[in-house]
Symmetry: C2
Subunit: 597 residues, 2 copies
């Protein structure tokens, strides 16, 4: 009720939207960052005639219905799922980036924010990036109704404080009485003037429960329906039951405008001026290359073939090798600086506009954006994430930089795909596969260089694996991925020297995992399997293997799981792999024990 | 090198610290939020004489040594691990909250921040809370050297922009030339005047590589050592090799000051004025109570027995029931509003000072703070987290509010404990156990009320489980926790009616899990086990059970794992449990199939 007047003016006079063609590229966008205001959003849908009274009254928050408790893109007019606060504005930054720099269409992105969520740091990451990228097509409407779920917000009705913060972060702030229709109209008209090159905030002082005097500005009505008698009085006070259909302006047809320069985000020292080749990069068998380098190379080749590939990074592009793409295609690369939440949200918003976005940072730092990735899964967005510098293998930098939980986090997301290549060739194939993979896909790359294992052009389907060594009388199977595959191969050499026949499996697809190859290995070896991973013991590769074997009903299993069970410190990668018990010697010892036992 | 002058003045003249007694309660605190400046921190330790030249030169970033790539509390002068940017200042807010409101000691918290990390939203959550809580004992030193890892930061040397932002967020900003020793001295002296009731920022314009002309203000030297010839020239330009020991002021002895009022954060309508009872709350068998309610009740009882219990919540205390503690002990409750990163960081900082902190929000929203919890594990801090409203059981609010990945996330953390009670009595026991559990401990509570299962005072050791039904001829074991335990009990009734003998296990300790009881169940039932959980299939209870059985070498397993395999929408909890296939009927069907097969 606090934002109803704001939305009434927006919908009838400013939101340029063809309600019958929600996929029209020139439509404005409307994002409810305060997703719990879904009754208002659905009332808007009712008012413009795309949701029936029947659906609104009987479908809200009900099983099997699309008017969920918080909006999701199950509805065609909803871009992204919201409901975890502080995400709609960062997502809107992504949509606005696409509109300004990629589609170059005159649509605007209107985002309704609550005041409670302005305490989320992600909101300020969003304002920072919106002003850095001069997103004058982004208009936040801040509904300052003073009251959160359990009481007053930390700034209450201190609109001056909000205004100072927003202005300091580069926004143009238009403060209004959020129930003065003329003032709202004036502010929205002003907001549509994008000549200033800034995002705009319509900062609205509002009253929670506005329009029903019994609850106006009162606590304890957050998210609660009125009892029937109160509801009747509320309707009466609001003017009685009415059923009007309103439609606002439709967007004008438009062609993409000229290509604007992206603010200076391209790393200096471009390593080449040559036109990038679309041919997949090739790596020699036996020659060392880091999979993170192959990731960068692969993106460049992919970018040459597909104009819709867009890459983002969180100020570590010279480590993740995303900078290779930035050099090659500066117009399709966005630097998000040290702001991983906004990194993922921008990738989400750009993906909403049909681009194939890849976002990268150190694997450990995707934990910073876990909630955003989770919400991306709920949005059903196709989001490609690459985390470099995984595990103790990174060595001297120490545990803060070592991703040891990332596989668990990424596997647990609905519909996710988790990939972990061991050499250049497989990286090329998996990056290519990601560009065609729906949902959240995650690639884990490794810091150090390791020998090429596969011939150029070899196939690595998602859900597959590679058997690198096998024979008719294998006594034990070694399962690895990434760095531990190389350790498993060294272990196999050791064991072979001792007369133990070993199968080695590259489990590059951690989710979905190749149950068929794993069960075949279990059958062949009497169930003797050693899994080694550079990750904590829970939820990673070992879990994936165990879950698959058990789900397949595999009997007679003798599974040894080697993982990083203690807190690492600094050291060389080699020292730490040994310390963690996941190097060749430990894998060989585990295999020896299984075979002897 | 950019911050060396700042630290030189701080250490010799302002940091009140007894280097021989790092545990002295009146010591100031020094946190390197820019953890990658560890060479400077360790040089400080060398300069004050607590680290030897030998250790500094030969121990840095080496295996088995304590001078890790990024600082961790392995060193007695380090409060918290840093290295994931934007966390040291939020942690410092926690330490400063403890100093001002709990210990009431005059120590100051000095935090060195880099400029790149000022792009992290968590920094602004920290400034917001620091000003809200009037933390005049918190002094941030912002080292604005313009250059990040891969190029210029988004604000470069725009100190005015930084100053505006910090001031808008309530800080007193003192802008200085970070290489002008007199100006630094003046600013630090001013910062020590805490009468203004604001946090202070010493905003320092600095030059990366300061003191060695070959690299000053140049790109591409981030985190890279000089080659030997350059190093020799750098030392020469800096004045040659020297070895002095400097000591700054020692803290004065102090007694705790008067109890200050906490800004109005206590929810209205306290439900009682009575003095809280230290007796553990009791719940009747068969009577419905929500475990989240029992969490709040338990905290109140615990708080009566232990003055060091401190509780924080992220503006949902009326949902998590943390508000019961807030009513009872307003002086030991901190409202963190909708800022989950700062919520966890504040709990971390307060825990560093020896308090037993509990932090709560919706379980889904702890994903927002995943990186902070991860870093908490690296800090080795004892942190107690309670996530309410887990799984599809919550019903109508929809997927954004449903934690379906939290068990995987929490299990994957090093040294973590994961607990999931099913009734009031077990909640009381587990909250009590958490207060004595080291490391990260996590309690998952449920929205709805379910019947009490256990008599008051029953024991629930961490790592244990409860066998609720068993007999000599059990044909199948049903394993559940939280809501699925109640479904498993209903399933057991159904199956018993069909003549199938069923064992039911309450796996309330998800990590560590009770391997003994599970293997005994597998032995007794011919390996027939059904695990049901209100969580995605990966990394949760099913994984814990599978991992334990396989690690124990259990053979002949027929494990059926029921979990939430699809993306839920809204509905009632009952409808959604059925839809997900984790209700009594589905558990019974799975058991029937195992027994028949």
């Amino acid at each position: 009720m606090s934002a109803a007047d704001l939305l009434a003016v927006l919908i009838t006079r400013h939101l340029r939207y063809d309600w019958d063609e929600p996929r029209l590229p020139v439509n404005d966008h409307l994002i409810f960052s305060k997703g719990h205001a879904s009754p208002l959003l659905y009332s808007v849908f009712k008012a413009v005639g795309v949701v029936s009274e029947e659906e609104l009254l009987n479908g809200y928050r009900r099983f099997g219905q699309r008017l969920e408790g918080h909006p999701t893109p199950v509805l065609p007019w909803v871009d992204v799922a919201t409901g975890s606060l502080g995400q709609g504005l960062p997502d809107g930054v992504g949509v606005a980036l696409a509109g300004k720099y990629l589609e170059r269409l005159p649509y605007r992105v209107w985002v309704l924010c609550g005041d409670s969520e302005l305490a989320e740091g992600s909101i300020w990451e969003a304002f920072d990036k919106a002003s850095y990228y001069k997103l004058s097509n982004l208009i936040a409407i801040a509904d300052i109704n003073r009251l959160g779920q359990r009481g007053e917000t930390d700034l209450g009705w201190n609109l001056e404080a909000y205004a100072r913060r927003m202005a300091a972060f580069g926004a143009r702030v238009l403060t209004v009485d959020g129930h003065d229709l003329a003032a709202i109209e004036k502010a929205m008209t002003a907001a549509e003037d994008s000549s200033g090159g800034q995002p705009t905030v319509i900062l609205a002082k509002t009253i929670k429960g506005r329009g029903f005097s019994e609850v106006e500005n009162k606590d304890d009505w957050h998210g609660k329906p009125f009892p029937p008698d109160m509801a009747a009085r509320a309707i009466a006070e609001l003017g009685g039951v009415r059923g009007i259909v309103v439609r606002g302006p439709r967007p004008e047809p438009a062609e993409p405008g000229p290509v604007p320069g992206i603010p200076t985000t391209v790393p200096r020292q471009p390593n080449t001026d040559a036109r990038p080749s679309a041919a997949p990069p090739q790596y020699e068998i036996g020659k060392k290359v880091a999979t993170r380098k192959a990731y960068g190379d692969s993106l460049v080749a992919l970018g040459a073939r597909d104009d819709r590939i867009v890459v983002l990074d969180g100020e570590v592009s010279n480590s993740t090798y995303a900078f290779e793409f930035a050099h090659a295609y500066p117009g399709r690369y966005f630097e998000m600086f040290i702001a991983e939440q906004q990194l993922v949200a921008a990738a989400t918003g750009i993906a909403v506009r049909g681009y194939r976005t890849f976002a990268s940072t150190f694997a450990a730092f995707f934990t910073r954006a876990c909630d955003f990735i989770r919400m991306g899964a709920i949005s059903g967005v196709d989001l490609r994430l690459c985390g470099s510098h995984a595990g103790v293998e990174i060595g001297a930098d120490g545990p803060s930089q070592m991703a040891l939980e990332d596989l668990a986090m990424m596997r647990a997301l609905h519909g996710s795909t988790v990939l972990y290549p061991s050499d250049g060739t497989s990286t090329v194939a998996l990056v290519e596969a990601m560009s065609r993979t729906p949902g959240i896909s995650y690639l884990r790359t490794t810091r150090g260089g390791y020998p090429g294992l596969y011939p150029a052009g070899d196939k690595f389907p998602v859900g597959g694996s590679k058997v690198l060594r096998s024979g008719e009388n294998d006594q034990v199977a070694l399962v690895g991925a990434g760095v531990t595959l190389h350790e498993a191969l060294r272990a196999a050499e050791i064991l072979q020297g001792e007369g133990i026949a070993v199968r080695v499996i590259d489990c590059y697809s951690v989710k979905p995992v190749d149950a068929g190859t794993l069960t075949a290995a279990a059958e062949a070896t009497g169930g003797r399997i050693v899994v080694a991973e550079d990750h904590h013991p829970e939820g990673g590769l070992g879990s994936a293997v165990a879950d698959a074997l058990l789900a397949a009903g595999q009997q007679n299993l003798h599974l040894t799981h080697l993982a990083v069970g203690e807190m690492p410190g600094s050291g060389t990668g080699e020292e730490l792999l040994a310390w963690a018990g996941i190097d060749a010697d430990h894998i060989a010892a585990a295999a020896r024990k299984l075979v002897g036992g």
